[in-house]
């Protein structure tokens, strides 16, 4: 990659559940609020609490009776997950307007890769706007960490709360990151911290300067990984599909008008299949199950899928099956939305392909190349060849977390 560095945001909602409750009931603002499993029972446990409560010593996972000891006027609420899910959906839809590369990590935090999307704008100003927008539209505070990779962005978002915006540059880590206690490091749990402290690693800086071998012996592969992170190295991409780790890849679109003519419907399937094929290629996987979604004018929605005999990956193959499914299951009523999803994905390097008598020539032509590759692999190891990935994939993504994809299709529909 020619670029100097990536621009990664980590967006972390501040005491999310409590903030959502306060957005619903503004009278709670400024008061110590805690969300707990069973407020009626004193044995309940604090799930999260407002900053006002935290200031009084209320902590997450603290039993309620203990929380009341710290803060007798604590307002304790039952969790209301539908509200949180709803709010989360809105947040991620705001984030995904800025870039398709949004990776939700949980209901209240996510990464964004803005390398290609901030344009001329200063990333810090951009972050401010994003933060303000979420605050204005949803009345929810968040902290944003800006860094060249996910790890540093995550560490950065943690540094200033609430409503913080922190930039963590790699060259600054000696001053900002290294002095922190090792237990503060993302990826270091209590057990790991204890182990590290036993070999005199107390700060992130200690870890960064320890030799890798010792760490590897102590913590295995994770030791090496933590060592890299402590040195500000983390190459993991922001992966919009990471949510459901290779289960399916799909795209859907709301049609500009309710359609009944096959020509345009087929054209839509071609477009959707093209996007799915691009994403399959990007993730280096193939599919053996194609699903389509049809939403009719009356919002009645059906999904139908077909298990295939062979793995497929090209847009022609995908759209061929999608159209076949459509022919079989369409009730001829006007269609409002169409979707194509590739399911049952398998990484390409784990599969084999049964050649076909009628078109094996396509593969056979490359036999000499494969042979040469095999010989080089035998000599130098499997790592000699890696599949080149388009560094700037021109891909439009849809998020697999259903609340996201639902939101987006609605959104597209009302835009057009």
């Amino acid at each position: 990659m020619k670029r100097k560095g990536r621009i990664i945001f980590h967006v972390d909602m501040n005491s999310f559940y409590a903030s959502v409750e306060m957005a619903y009931r503004p009278e709670l603002k400024g008061k110590p609020v805690a969300i707990a499993g069973n407020p009626e029972e004193r044995r309940g446990i604090v799930v999260t609490s407002s900053y006002e409560a935290r200031a009084r010593g209320v902590k997450t996972t603290m039993p309620l009776w203990q929380a009341y000891e710290h803060c007798p006027e604590l307002i304790v609420l039952r969790p209301n997950f539908n509200r949180y899910r709803e709010a989360s959906k809105h947040i991620f839809s705001i984030l995904s307007e800025a870039t398709p590369f949004v990776q939700p990590v949980s209901i209240d935090e996510g990464y964004m890769d803005l390398t290609d999307y901030v344009g001329e704008e200063n990333p810090i100003e951009f972050a401010h706007k994003l933060q303000q927008r979420i605050l204005n539209e949803l009345d929810l505070p968040c902290s944003i960490g800006i860094a060249p990779n996910k790890f540093l962005a995550k560490m950065a978002s943690d540094m200033k709360k609430p409503l913080g915006i922190t930039v963590l540059r790699k060259r600054e880590i000696k001053h900002t990151l290294w002095p922190l206690d090792i237990g503060e490091m993302y990826g270091v749990g209590q057990k790991t911290a204890e182990k590290l402290k036993r070999i005199e690693i107390h700060t992130i800086g200690d870890l960064a300067n320890k030799d890798v071998l010792t760490l590897k012996n102590l913590l295995g592969i994770n030791g090496e990984r933590l060592h890299q992170r402590a040195n500000g190295i983390d190459n993991r991409p922001v992966d919009p599909d990471a949510v459901n780790e290779f289960k399916s890849i799909g795209n859907s679109t709301t049609l500009p008008y309710d359609m009944t003519d096959l020509t345009n419907i087929y054209k839509t399937f071609d477009q959707l299949s093209k996007k799915v094929a691009e994403r399959l290629k990007y993730k280096n996987v193939v599919t053996e199950n194609i699903q389509i979604m049809i939403r009719y004018h009356d919002r009645k929605t059906i999904t139908r899928s077909k298990q295939l005999q062979d793995f497929i990956e090209t847009k022609e193959e995908i759209s061929g099956w999608a159209k076949r499914l459509f022919q079989q299951h369409w009730n001829e009523e006007p269609v409002r939305l169409l979707g194509v999803t590739a399911q049952h994905l398998t990484p390409k390097n784990e599969l084999s392909k049964q050649l076909d008598l009628f078109n094996y020539e396509q593969e056979a032509e490359k036999e000499k190349l494969y042979l040469a590759m095999d010989q080089m692999k035998e000599k130098y190891g499997d790592e000699v060849f890696i599949q080149l990935r388009d560094p700037e994939p021109n891909i439009s993504t849809s998020f697999q977390k259903d609340f996201l994809s639902e939101y987006k299709t609605e959104e597209k529909g009302s835009d057009s």
Binding site: E350, L351, S352, Q354, L355, L357, F358, E363, A364, E367
Partner: protein, 380 residues
Amino acid sequence: MKILIEREPLMNSIQNVMKAISSKTTIPILSGIKLEANDQGVKLTGSNSDITIESIIPVEEDGIVNIHEMVPGQIVVQAKFLPEIIRKLPDHQVEINVDSDLNLQIKSGHAEFKLNGQDAEEYPQLPVLQTDNSFDLQIDLLKMLIRQTNFAVSVSETRPILTGVHLKLENDLLELVATDSHRLASRKITMNDSEQLTFNNVVIPGKSLSELNKILDETQETIQVSVTDNQILFRTKNLYFLSRLLDGNYPETSRLIPNQSKTVVKVDSKELIESIDRASLLAKDNRNNIVKLVTKGQNTLQITSHSPEVGQVEETLETDSIEGEDLKISFNAKYMIDALKAIDSDQVSINFTGAMRPFVIRPEEDDEQILQLITPVRTY
């Protein structure tokens, strides 16, 4: 209608026509068996839209009397219960009576069943096959032809024409070809008396052939094969087996068969089957049931397979000879075993033209009558 009949031939006939009867028929009367009694004997008919089978029980055959009493008539009986009823009757003789209200009475020993019949007039008229395109085959030979090809038909409806066996007769040479697009089985025989008969693009559904194979006994009697545009009829003295043909053009398969080779392996068929069978024990877990074959020095083959979660297996096999280039090739173990079993020869010769190209298996004493083609698996 009335018949007094031996139970065993009746049971056989019922079992034969049952092969054509489907419980999921869209024409209700076809879920029944038609019984017809006339001077020649008793005729049973079963049919679905694809296959129609008629089985005739002659009054007397080879000096054995099958039917002791008869009043001509006809009736359609529900096929669902008839086989079990007849099978479990106590006596070796069965008496069947039909009254004018279509009530059917089955008596044997002290047992008596009363069943509701249906009017045989409502049973579809079967097409009378008009054709001059007929030839005779010995039954055991026909069964062998089916066994050697029919296993290779496609089970997927992606290309429906490939779910059938292609039949071609030209210059006294009858050829059967089946392929599922991954492997191909071909068998030829020379006909002596086909009298300039020529046809092509006759594609018999694989399912029809496997049912036919089940019904026919391994005998040296002849069977008459008649072909029309959309149907094929197999007829023996007491059996009439009519099948629909598949619509569409069968692909030209002769061009698929490589006419040169780079590596030729001659090997004992049984040893190869056993070795591949062992290797495939672990391969069954991976998707394409893949085994890998590698040529080694001193005429040996190495056969390996591995399954990431299970483990791996490796063995070497002495061959009679290996000529030509070194080779590493992966393929579906099942295809190989099917092919070797179909060839049914002690020694086989395998001709490879590279790891990405189909290879040909023939009996070593090549009489060009049987050939099995397998496309390899590409591993990444």
